[in-house]
């Protein structure tokens, strides 16, 4: 018996597919419509106007730490920028320290020295299995809050002071002529990069090597100090001094910032250590042996064979950890460090009641960072992909 035209139609794969998709899409649209409808009604009932007009209104609250000019007469948009910059500040410092500590522990864990490997393993297993929020609380409430008063500060080289008001550092003062040094520094960096590209090209063409690394280091450092001397050392340091009950001068990092950065770096470092270890172990032993057998020196084996291959494995999960650190910096809200979430999704939301706009903006910032990173990572993977046999 031949199947009828109708059963031919309903058992056709693409027809079924279209049918299921139509159902899914209409369900999603109905759901969104339902939510939007309810939200509109609820907002009307509460007398809330939707839209972003509130961003231009005076915020009337102050923020404990700001990187740009800000006062209670500034607008909500300024508060948003202040919060965003504070988040980026914590993320930036955290990423720097987490990378250093993480690489150190990752390499230590692979050490041939049994004790060092065990210490690294213990650190990683302890830190990874304790919630980050608990660690932040510990460093903030149990350590930094319990520090002595400014008079009994913990000192370091008479210029760095740690007490319950925060961490006091010497503040660099850029006098006249320092901009020249600044520009010269960047120019030498650009020249160094050009030297690297040129030497690589020449080596590919002729096989003649050029000590690009040493030449560029000499160039950057030499020009830097030459410029410093020529302009008569325009950079001075403002060293914090104890006056009365608190320190004057210098740069003050509030305890919230110190605790948050410290906890974030220590926590993420444990994950980065595992990433680094996995990356180095992913390079098969045959690669090292083959490199040695063609007569490369130990340093070159590392630099030309192992590190490039390990980095290809390390970089994607490493950026993922950076992203995690940035997202985790939102835990700042728990210890009242004025980051994006606390300032904007906390205080500003409480005052204006514009839940949808504010949460949308905050989520948008993090989403943008995530998507941006994953685009960069996809590009990286495409460039670094090795042609497989």
């Amino acid at each position: 018996m031949r199947p009828s035209k109708f059963s031919n139609f309903i058992f056709n794969r693409s027809v079924q597919g279209a049918f299921y998709q139509a159902i899914t899409l209409s369900l999603v649209i109905l759901g969104i419509y339902y939510i939007v409808q309810n939200t509109a009604e609820n907002m009307m009932a509460r007398g809330l106007a939707s839209g972003f007009h509130f961003l231009g209104v005076e915020s009337q609250f102050d923020i404990g730490m700001t990187l740009i000019e800000y006062s209670p007469t500034s607008t909500y948009f300024d508060a948003f920028i202040v919060g965003l910059l504070n988040t980026l500040l914590v993320a930036g410092i955290g990423i720097l320290f987490a990378t250093i500590v993480g690489f150190a522990f990752g390499i230590m864990r692979l050490s041939s020295n049994w004790l060092i490997a065990k210490i690294a393993e213990t650190y990683i297993e302890v830190i990874r299995n304790i919630p980050l929020l608990l660690q932040i609380f510990f460093w903030y409430f149990a350590v930094l809050r319990a520090l002595p008063r400014p008079k009994q500060s913990i000192e370091f080289m008479d210029s760095v002071f740690l007490n319950n008001r925060g961490l006091f550092l010497p503040d660099p003062n850029f006098g006249e002529g320092s901009s020249v040094i600044f520009y010269l520094f960047w120019i030498t960096i650009i020249i160094s990069i050009s030297i690297f590209i040129w030497s690589k090209r020449r080596q590919n063409k002729t096989g003649i090597t050029f000590p690009a690394f040493y030449v560029s280091v000499a160039l950057v450092v030499g020009v830097f100090f030459a410029a410093l001397t020529a302009t008569g050392f325009p950079v001075s340091f403002d060293i914090p001094e104890l006056k009365g009950f608190n320190f004057k001068g210098g740069m003050r990092l509030i305890p919230e910032l110190v605790a948050l950065t410290f906890a974030l770096s220590m926590y993420t470092a444990a994950f980065i250590a595992e990433v680094v270890r996995a990356g180095i172990m992913a390079v098969s032993k045959g690669q090292t042996e083959a490199a040695r057998s063609v007569g490369l020196k130990e340093g070159l084996v590392l630099r030309l064979i192992i590190i490039p291959q390990a980095l290809r494995v390390i970089v994607p999960p490493l950026t993922n950890q950076y992203l995690n650190l940035t997202k985790n910096s939102s835990l700042a809200a728990a210890i009242a460090y004025p980051d994006l979430v606390l300032v904007f999704a906390g205080t500003a939301l409480m005052q204006t009641g514009q839940a949808i706009e504010i949460i949308g903006m905050v989520m948008g910032v993090y989403l943008f960072l995530s998507l941006f990173t994953s685009i960069i990572m996809n590009l990286f993977n495409r460039i670094m992909k090795v042609g497989e046999r």
Binding site: Q21, N38, S112, I130, P131, L134, F138, A334, A355, S370
Partner: protein, 360 residues
């Protein structure tokens, strides 16, 4: 060369403890330096901690006046133990939580003992029947008195949030992963957008959204309590992460498995539920446990929206005027408990990984 003594033992420093130390701790001069530095660090960290936590600590007593030694005051934890484990749950109803703790402990121990029968049955009980029992036990109904969720707290609340997150997010995660891998463009696009949005934002913003925006989404008069809103947020958040884990497993399946099941005439759902999912879930069990560990640690974030979970209660009892100044004890205790849970899970997953590895 004929006078070699065949019975001569190897040099003392090549074998035994000394040989091991020479090889692993003092092989070169810089290894020796590293070992000494390491020993110094251990010396300045471990003995003071041990004497604080155990040797100089006070274990017995009822008030802070009993803590006269220089060490930790574990009386603080002992006196607040009921709050830490049960939250503000009414004292007369604590047996309900105890039954749940007991059932959970028995099932987990049963699953951990190797070579027992009916493990699958116990697993199904834990995933499907146990949660339903818990709903009635905890919130009331069927003749039990109602207990409001604002009284829930402590370790109990942490386990409830983690448990609900785990049980509900797995099926949603599997559906999302199937959706994202689907050949139907709209389904795949919608799943991808959903997954990427939840994965792209921090859990705190999700919880803020749950507590501030969900009430706006619902029609007038419908009001979820705070715990349920947080649970919904946690559930979607962890479902998105699980979806990516499951997708990894689906991608690891050889194409032949799909083609063979299609050739055998299986429909899509039969192919997935009988052939593909059982195999790919098995591959990713360690990764699933990994995301459960992450979820368990993340449950602490609910204290930011005002729920008193394990960590929240520890913060809370630390503000009690009778017990001010014992935050070290509280945090160390909480860290130890969390560590035992998380480390135990990660070790279990490593064991499973070895056991399930059937090789190809």
């Amino acid at each position: 060369m004929s006078n070699i003594n065949k019975n001569m033992t190897p040099p003392v420093i090549e074998i035994g403890v000394l040989g091991w130390m020479r090889k692993n701790l003092f092989s070169t001069w810089y290894n020796t330096v590293l070992t000494l530095i390491g020993l110094y660090f251990i010396y300045i960290i471990i003995p003071p901690f041990l004497s604080w936590a155990f040797f100089d600590a006070t274990f017995s007593g009822t008030t802070r006046e009993d803590c006269t030694s220089s060490g930790a005051c574990w009386v603080f934890i002992k006196q607040n133990m009921k709050l830490i484990i049960y939250g503000l749950y009414p004292s007369d109803e604590l047996w309900r939580i105890n039954i749940a703790y007991f059932l959970l402990a028995v099932s987990i121990i049963y699953l951990l003992i190797p070579n027992l029968k009916y493990k699958g049955g116990v697993g199904v009980f834990l995933l499907f029947i146990f949660p339903i029992i818990c709903i009635f036990l905890f919130s009331g109904g069927l003749g039990l008195e109602n207990v409001e969720t604002r009284l829930w707290g402590g370790l109990f609340l942490t386990l409830v949030i983690a448990g609900v997150g785990i049980v509900l997010s797995l099926p949603i995660g599997i559906m999302l992963a199937l959706g994202r891998r689907s050949k139907l463009p709209i389904v795949s696009l919608l799943s991808t957008i959903f997954i990427e949005i939840w994965r792209g934002v921090p859990l705190i913003t999700v919880l803020f959204m749950a507590s501030n925006m969900f009430p706006l989404f619902m029609p007038e008069g419908v009001n979820f309590d705070k715990l349920i809103r947080a649970l919904i947020g946690v559930m979607f958040f962890s479902a998105a992460y699980l979806a990516e884990v499951v997708r990894g497993g689906l991608q690891a399946m050889p194409k032949g498995q799909y083609e063979a099941s299609q050739a055998a005439g299986l429909t899509y759902w039969k192919m997935m539920s009988l052939i593909i999912l059982p195999q790919s879930l098995k591959i990713v069990i360690p990764a699933i446990i990994g995301s459960f560990i992450a979820l368990f640690k993340d449950t602490t974030l609910v204290l930011i929206i005002g729920l008193f979970d394990f960590l929240g209660i520890i913060q809370f009892v630390g503000t009690n005027p009778d017990w001010l100044g014992f935050s070290h004890e509280g945090y160390v205790f909480a860290a130890a408990i969390f560590w035992v849970f998380c480390f135990g899970m990660s070790r279990y997953s490593q064991r499973l990984e070895k056991k399930l590895d059937t090789g190809h």
